[in-house]
């Protein structure tokens, strides 16, 4: 039983997370504070929402690098629109508009991928540059500090507030709820719908999935459309947390998100991955980015550490697989 557990990537990632937290906490006890926990969750929110979309793409055997461009496009256009309309209402409207914009952009990806059967990495590399370039040229490139009222209100919305002994307050931002909702939806979709199983099937063997009668084109449209939708929502969440719309932000962080998902056990060749694993991967990356500084590790080195963890984290399961194969051959020989 324990051995089975050890073979699960999720368990290994969870273990690494716990061990790392313990080490950081022993060196700097400030790590184990509610305030820090809330901080980490806040930092993990946007990357987590992105990761839920990326997870689906990776399970299906594809790679999407355009989601950050879609996110910022959704955010920037939404902010511009709401300001032009002088809209003062709820953030839900902003989320809906950005989600719709993201959906449309995602469907453009889906169109190129399913219609022309182009490699997903190439298509999304192309559209990523296209979306960003289009936005900067036609929509604008100014840095907007004064975000619409709904988003500004959302930036102060707290789910939980805890007053410390010394009177200071620690807040858990309500944006976490969006991540929780996205995670639950993706979990149910992947595990309990035929669409989700089709995504796993597609990632396992495209030819077999076709022969089994899955509508591959429909699945691909759904995948990339859904990723776009989530990316748009993540974009507005990011803008709200930062209280700004900077057209040059987020783009460039896509590899961190992909790294988190792969660390969480998703196979880059498709067919494997889970929501729990991806969330643990996101937490691990966030803890590293936020807390290595507590250990006195310079920020340049943090990147190197993330790289090392990524190589070990993805290399270990591969080595384990090879050993399992050897064991199987050995039992055959007996």
């Amino acid at each position: 039983m324990f051995k089975n557990l050890l073979n699960k990537t999720e368990f290994l990632v969870g273990l690494t997370l716990v061990v790392m937290s313990l080490i950081i906490g022993i060196i700097n006890p400030a790590f184990f504070s509610i305030a820090n926990l809330f901080d980490i969750l806040r930092s993990a929110t946007v990357i987590g929402i992105f990761a839920m979309g990326v997870l689906i793409v990776i399970i299906s055997g594809g790679v999407d690098v355009s989601f950050t461009a879609i996110g910022i496009f959704g955010l920037y256009v939404t902010v511009k629109l709401l300001k032009a309309w002088q809209f003062e209402g709820s953030v839900v409207v902003a989320l809906a508009i950005a989600g719709a914009i993201g959906l449309v952009l995602g469907l453009i990806n889906g169109f190129f991928i399913s219609r022309f059967k182009l490699p997903t990495l190439i298509v999304t590399l192309g559209t990523s540059a296209l979306f960003q370039g289009f936005m900067l040229f036609f929509i604008g490139s100014d840095y907007i500090r004064d975000i619409p009222a709904g988003m500004a209100k959302f930036s102060m919305a707290n789910l939980v507030t805890i007053t410390q002994v010394d009177g200071s307050k620690s807040n858990l931002h309500a944006g976490v709820l969006i991540l929780v909702a996205a995670a639950i939806i993706v979990f149910i979709m992947l595990k309990y719908t035929m669409l989700g199983r089709g995504i796993y099937a597609l990632g396992g063997s495209r030819e077999s999935a076709e022969r089994a009668g899955f509508n591959i084109r429909k699945i691909e449209f759904t995948i990339y459309g859904f990723v776009g939708l989530l990316s748009g929502i993540a974009g507005v969440t990011f803008g709200s947390l930062m209280r700004q719309a900077n057209p040059f932000s987020i783009v460039g962080t896509e590899l961190d998100v992909i790294a988190a998902v792969v660390l969480g056990g998703a196979s880059i060749t498709g067919g494997r991955g889970s929501v729990v694993g991806a969330l643990l991967g996101v937490l691990l990356i966030t803890v590293m980015n936020n807390s290595l500084i507590l250990l006195g590790i310079p920020s340049d080195w943090q990147k190197a550490v993330v790289g090392i963890i990524l190589i070990i984290g993805t290399g270990l399961p591969a080595i384990q697989n090879r050993q399992a194969e050897r064991r199987m051959n050995a039992t055959l020989a007996e």
Binding site: Y192, R197, A201, G204, A212, G213, S267, A333
Partner: protein
């Protein structure tokens, strides 16, 4: 599903079973099909009755797969008609074919390696019923029922990618059954199976037959066809040569029908070298943990030594170890009486040992590269001229020489290797090694997937090599092949050599019997 079964059994009990048994499930009549002007099938007709085991044999390129694909609705015939369950089709779509109860199990099984056994079995079933939600309890129940129908026990939660080939096949069969299959077409189902697994597959097939399901068994392993077939059809060059009761066939007849000429194979006669020189290769107490133990044998120049055993007997491990891929843990290897160390492939090559792998497609060839380049890849270093550049002239001469010597049938040596048939591909692998003049050649399953005609020619090539003084080691579980090429045969079981046979003192049947008895 259960309703259908129930109906079947109630009919059986009322004595109506005879009606079912003689009912025609499939009638393909006067089908012709050509691809860009080249005829692939010409006026072929085939009738399959309920509960019949029908075999379809023919060499590569004879039109077997075209015929299967027409029945499956993948190809549309140019002429002719397909009648399934008394419905007439001039063209058939894949979905219509499935709805008529036709299921094709392709060689690659079309399974999902990343999903569990239960899900692989139940997935198509749910998909066909347009389910949107997955009920995992139901998935397990469906899968369990399907496995029960062929009396097989498998771990439902295991990942299919981690299972042996034989189990994957059973999974594919149970999945086909779920789709109310009335005719299951199996395309070369035994290629990757051991003898033992083949016999358990056959008992599954006989079981299906009792349930009234027909089987179209496509193969070119003649002993299996003789074993299982009730009716046999032979295709050659897209033409139907014969379609008759299985009782009218024997191996010789089938070979004649398939190739169009009589293939006569003579056994290898080894003339023992009486001089006192040490054996070419001597292996003593060679052991590789978890693989093989205490292997000792001698191979003299001019000998062809066979090593047989079921999958997992350690024969492939032994071959790889002698070639330096997985060096042995203990024991000694001597060449010409001198002890040598073989710790890497390079060591083996330096000692003039060659290895023709089991899977030529992934281990033996650069499929997209030219035939000629594949043949000289081992010796390009020797073809360098003064400026350290390859001398194109001697390169071409070499290539020409090997194409002629091994009788490789191709219009140009500049075509990619993948354009060749299996037999010719294997000749290219052989040429690759022969070009570097090895003294010991290890061949692992030298004719897997090779036509009968080319097989005989390859065997002849091996006999000629031995006559010239090379020592050959052939790993195979194809007993007729070993009987035709080897002068001695070692039987391995569970990693050990358990018996040695001289070819003259053992019959094919005895050897087959020894091979499968556990």
């Amino acid at each position: 599903m259960t309703a259908l079964l129930y109906r079947f059994f109630s009919m059986a009990s009322k004595g109506k079973i005879l009606i079912i048994m003689s009912e025609e499930i499939l009638n393909v009549s006067h089908i012709s099909k050509s691809f860009s002007g080249v005829s692939a099938l010409n006026d072929v007709s085939l009738t399959i009755k309920a509960g019949e085991i029908h075999c379809l044999i023919g060499e590569n390129g004879s039109g077997k797969s075209t015929l299967i694909k027409i029945i499956a609705g993948v190809y549309e015939p140019d002429e002719g008609e397909i009648i399934i369950n008394s419905h007439h089709y001039s063209k058939l779509t894949p979905i219509e074919s499935i709805h008529e109860g036709i299921q094709v199990i392709y060689q690659d099984f079309s399974l999902f390696p990343n999903l569990t056994v239960a899900e692989n079995i139940a997935l198509n079933y749910q998909l066909e019923r347009n389910k949107n939600w997955v009920d995992w309890g139901n998935v397990r129940k469906i899968a369990q029922n399907a496995l029960d129908r062929i009396n097989v026990k498998l771990n439902l939660d295991a990942l299919v990618g981690e299972m042996p080939v034989a189990d994957k096949q059973l999974i594919a069969i149970s999945r086909a059954l779920l789709q109310d299959a009335r005719l299951i077409i199996m395309d070369e189902p035994t290629t990757a199976l051991t003898q033992k697994e083949v016999s358990s597959l056959f008992s599954v097939i006989k079981d299906l037959q009792k349930q009234g399901i027909s089987i179209l068994f496509v193969s070119h392993k003649l002993n299996e066809v003789l074993d299982i077939s009730e009716r046999t059809m032979v295709l050659r060059n897209g033409q139907m040569v014969v379609d008759a009761d299985a009782s009218e066939f024997d191996t010789k007849k089938m070979v004649y029908y398939m190739t169009g000429h009589h293939v006569v194979e003579t056994a290898y006669v080894y003339e023992e070298n009486t001089s006192n020189e040490p054996p070419l290769l001597k292996v003593e107490n060679l052991t590789s943990r978890n693989n093989f133990y205490d292997i000792s044998f001698e191979l003299k120049a001019g000998e062809i030594l066979g090593v047989t055993g079921l999958l997992g007997s350690g024969r492939t491990g032994l071959a790889l170890s002698l070639f330096g891929v997985f060096p042995a843990d203990s024991g000694s290897i001597s060449i010409d009486g001198v002890q040598v160390k073989i710790n890497s492939i390079q060591d083996a090559i330096d000692k003039k040992i060659g290895y023709v792998p089991e899977d030529r497609l992934t281990e033996g060839l650069f499929l997209d590269q030219e035939i000629g380049k594949n043949m000289v890849v081992r010796i390009v270093d020797d073809l360098k001229g003064g400026q350290k550049l390859i001398n194109q002239k001697s390169l071409q001469l070499q290539i020409q020489d090997w194409v002629e010597q091994l009788n490789i049938k191709t219009s140009s040596s500049q075509l990619p290797v993948k354009s060749l048939s299996g037999g010719n591909q294997q000749r290219v692998v052989l040429a690759k090694w022969l070009a570097s003049c090895p003294r010991i050649l290890i061949l692992n399953g030298p004719t897997v997937g090779v036509d009968i005609g080319s097989k005989a020619e390859l065997h002849e090539a091996l006999r000629v090599l031995a006559k010239k003084g090379m020592g050959l080691l052939i790993m195979s579980d194809d007993i007729p092949e070993l009987m035709q090429t080897c002068n001695r045969i070692l039987l391995m079981r569970k990693g050990r050599i358990v018996e040695e046979f001289h070819r003259e003192m053992v019959t094919e049947d005895e050897l087959t019997h020894k091979l499968v008895e556990a």
